[in-house]
Symmetry: C2
Subunit: 279 residues, 2 copies
């Protein structure tokens, strides 16, 4: 699998780099960002924290705006941020910000025309970490976090594959997509009208059925425009309560859905993951 570097910027003694590569699974070229902390230049292998972005984002938003590299350098962990969907002229798209390119929802699509490229669940779970672990000086110790649609993706990936991750966290995640407009629109298109198939991608339903799992941290702003209709953290909270899942859900007065919110609390997430990665 050949990897092409498209940019490299030194920061905090390490390097933020963007790569493109052909994804056999997604049947198109994909981009991702990686931050390699200074420890890797000294021959050390470090664990990886994956970050999944939200609707309309790419591999750029997180590494430019969240300010996570400072602590990644201090703690000695790598960061990997994939794009939010397959992309390209021959990749199916919709004239919408919340479906198609930029809105992959981290599912494996089963319905045409989406199923030809939209396999983001398997991409983030298998293909991307395999590529990262074969290419860079990193261990196979992984944690994952994300924002909004990416928070949904991170929670679902960990709840379904607890053995693959040490910890999970999210900023303003879509907690109960089977019961919100974003989720209903995307799952109808990608998974079809049988709602039973949607349940495998609903963090609240999965957490309700979980028998323990990696610890989870969720931060939610109380002034988030999407809180009531789309995000529904109360569903996740109730699920954790019902199953005894180790979830810490924090609500923050005055904070919205933006990267100003993420940057304000990203250090807590970095420390949370580093602790569970034993780093």
């Amino acid at each position: 699998m050949s990897l092409h570097i498209t940019s490299a910027n030194k920061g905090f003694g390490g390097w933020t780099k963007h790569y493109s590569h052909h994804s056999d699974l997604l049947n198109c070229d994909m981009r991702f960002a990686i931050y390699l902390p200074p420890q890797t230049a000294q021959g050390q292998k470090v664990p990886v924290i994956y970050y999944l972005s939200g609707l309309t984002c790419t591999d750029e938003n997180f590494v430019q705006k969240a300010g996570a590299q400072r602590l990644a350098a201090e703690l000695g962990v790598a960061l990997v941020a994939p794009d939010t969907s397959p992309r390209g002229e021959d990749v199916a798209d919709a004239n919408a910000y919340d479906l198609g390119q930029g809105a992959g929802f981290y599912v494996n699509a089963t319905e045409a025309p989406w199923n030809r490229h939209y396999q983001m669940y398997d991409y983030v779970l298998h293909e991307l970490p395999k590529l990262v672990e074969e290419t860079f000086p990193v261990t196979d110790q992984r944690s994952i976090f994300g924002h909004s649609m990416g928070g949904h993706g991170a929670l679902v990936l960990v709840l379904r594959n607890p053995e693959r991750y040490k910890s999970v966290s999210a900023f303003s995640p879509i907690c109960n997509p089977v019961n919100c407009p974003w989720g209903e629109k995307a799952f109808s298109a990608y998974l079809g009208e049988d709602r039973k198939t949607w349940e495998a991608y609903d963090a609240s339903l999965l957490m309700r059925g979980a028998k323990g799992g990696p610890p989870a941290l969720v931060d939610q702003g109380e002034a988030d425009d999407f809180l009531v209709e789309q995000l529904r953290p109360e569903a996740l909270d109730a699920a954790a309560e019902a199953s005894g899942y180790p979830l810490a859900l924090r609500r923050h007065e005055g904070y919205d859905h933006s990267y100003y919110f993420i940057s304000s609390f990203v250090n807590d997430h970095m420390r949370f993951h580093a602790e569970h990665l034993g780093h």
Copy 2:
């Protein structure tokens, strides 16, 4: 002078806000960003650190990418980031990234058609701080920093008005614009062909003639593509040496001209200014 708020996002317990206002001096509407730290919500007045952006930037780049708000909140200082030029349909422009809108160079233009709007030197020196100090819970204690073209602007403003600022710093500043392509192009257009008039806007010439002044900190990346031809920090260094100006110039191996560089060292600048602001 009426001020319109265009956005407000909570961060680190304070608020990043964008405003627009009509500038009598610039003869058009102008935008700026301000970060008000949490101390201001408790009735405290705080000093202000101004930040001047580089070519092609607006009032958005710094507050989104530099990561300075974390320490602004901790130290109890406000940040103000103006746009880089006058803007609008009736504002003169050039089909170039380094002249016209987005490229005001922080000078008072004397040549037509630029002189009708391009008075960024006086805007940053007088009109903007007057507006800020009349409107927000801030003191009249000011420091200033900037990047590239904005580093040039910050250095010139402080060297010509040492009584107005407590300290100055810059990332990758254009140090000797009378002797580089960016400066020659902009100064020819804005100030005319008499090179004598350019000298009032050249940090190296001003520093060479200074009898002391507010302390200056400059960070420069050694892998900066513009270092040799455009930035010329060696001219500033020689000027400080000649006049005994209190300049600390640091060079950093591997760092480039981007916000990844700025974010890596912004905390040092924030602490430097806070110390000289007595905060």
